[in-house]
């Protein structure tokens, strides 16, 4: 987290959600939607949907929670501005809010649409294909992960087993450390050989959003699955909340796309615009979100 302001932002959503209502008091009253919560420029990646299509979008809903819609937009903007101020990206600083608001507003008006990187969005597909892991390197890294020394909880095993392609497929369990903000989250990865190649499923202990820590009287529900189910989205069939475990496939095609990998300001602005559109795809899952947001007297989207 000490590496850069963006890393610090990514790792401290708990502090953000504690201070946001105080620093932006006019925005705390904005209409609530089921928001991503911890949205920032590194919250985006690729996956394959049930039809094998390459999809790009938000891939982390650990902190999903009912929040003012402005939370996600402001946090996305702050992360872009912090990254730009470090010289990591070239988005126009004075332009960030306009680009985000335009992407968000356009998506709300259009009723939302996911980013299917096939016949459309060729610019994003080209970037995505360059960011995907090389399968041989990916599996070399997976093979190097240490075996889990502790007993794997029975529920974690059950959660992994449910997503295996064959019910009695044997698999070994390794430990993995990942994420910036996932303080103390237990992770177990099951790796199996299946039909001539390896597959990996990770079970991560799911806990309620840090919003509950900041507002103890709030709901203790884990909103991960609801956010996935409600959003305008082509879901990854291998991501599922199973009891207290979030299970997801680890694969070379499930990769983050970092805005820093794009060279020019024009492309980075375009990606930022797409990020705001994707945030709206998630917010559109909440009932009557466009009408409620449009009726917000404080909203800057008019």
């Amino acid at each position: 987290m000490a590496e850069s302001p963006v890393q610090f932002l990514r790792g401290t959503f708990y502090r953000w959600t504690q201070l946001f209502p105080e620093i932006c008091p006019e925005l705390r009253k904005a209409p609530a939607v089921l928001a991503v919560g911890d949205l920032h420029i590194a919250s985006f990646g690729t996956w394959r949907d049930g039809f094998g299509r390459l999809i790009w979008g938000i891939d982390d809903f650990d902190e999903a929670y009912p929040l003012p819609y402005a939370n996600d937009l402001v946090r996305l903007g702050v992360s872009a501005i912090l990254d730009a101020s470090e010289g990591e990206i070239k988005v126009g600083l004075g332009n960030v809010a306009d680009v985000i608001l335009d992407g968000y507003r356009t998506c709300l008006s259009a009723g939302g649409k996911p980013f299917v990187l096939e016949e459309k969005h060729k610019w994003l597909r080209n970037i995505a294909l360059n960011c995907l892991d090389i399968p041989a390197d990916f599996w070399k890294k997976m093979d190097a992960l240490p075996a889990s020394r502790a007993d794997v909880p029975a529920d974690a095993r059950e959660a992994i087993t449910r997503l295996l392609p064959a019910p009695k497929l044997p698999y070994r369990v390794v430990r993995r450390i990942a994420g910036v903000g996932s303080l103390g989250h237990l992770r177990y990865v099951g790796i199996a050989d299946w039909q001539g190649g390896q597959i990996a499923l990770e079970a991560k202990a799911a806990i309620p959003s840090a919003c509950l820590w900041a507002r103890p009287a709030a709901s203790s529900r884990i909103y991960y699955q609801l956010a996935l189910d409600q959003a305008i989205r082509c879901p990854d069939p291998f991501v599922r909340l199973s009891g207290k475990w979030l299970v997801r496939q680890l694969a070379p095609d499930s990769s983050p796309i970092e805005i820093e990998t794009m060279s020019g300001q024009k492309d980075q602005d375009k990606l930022l615009h797409a990020m705001a559109w994707e945030a709206a795809n998630v917010h559109l899952g909440s009932a009557k979100a466009p009408a409620r947001i449009a009726a917000d007297p404080e909203q800057p989207l008019r």
Partner: protein, 61 residues
């Protein structure tokens, strides 16, 4: 009795700074205290997950 300017007019600099300094839940807690507090909260939730699992394991066993 408050004058109209007291109610609706611009606040003086002193009034504004007093309003700013009013401690609230977030600003009353510094980042180190907040982080320690949050880590404890995560630990308790992870512990809940662990104990629920061990209960289930015992039940299943």
């Amino acid at each position: 009795m408050k004058s109209l300017s007291d109610k609706n007019g611009p606040r003086s600099g002193k009034q504004r700074s007093e309003r700013k300094r009013q401690p609230t839940m977030g600003t009353a807690m510094n980042i180190l205290t907040a982080t320690k507090n949050f880590e404890g909260w995560v630990g308790r939730h992870t512990h809940v997950v662990k104990s629920q699992l061990s209960d289930k394991t015992q039940t299943d066993g």
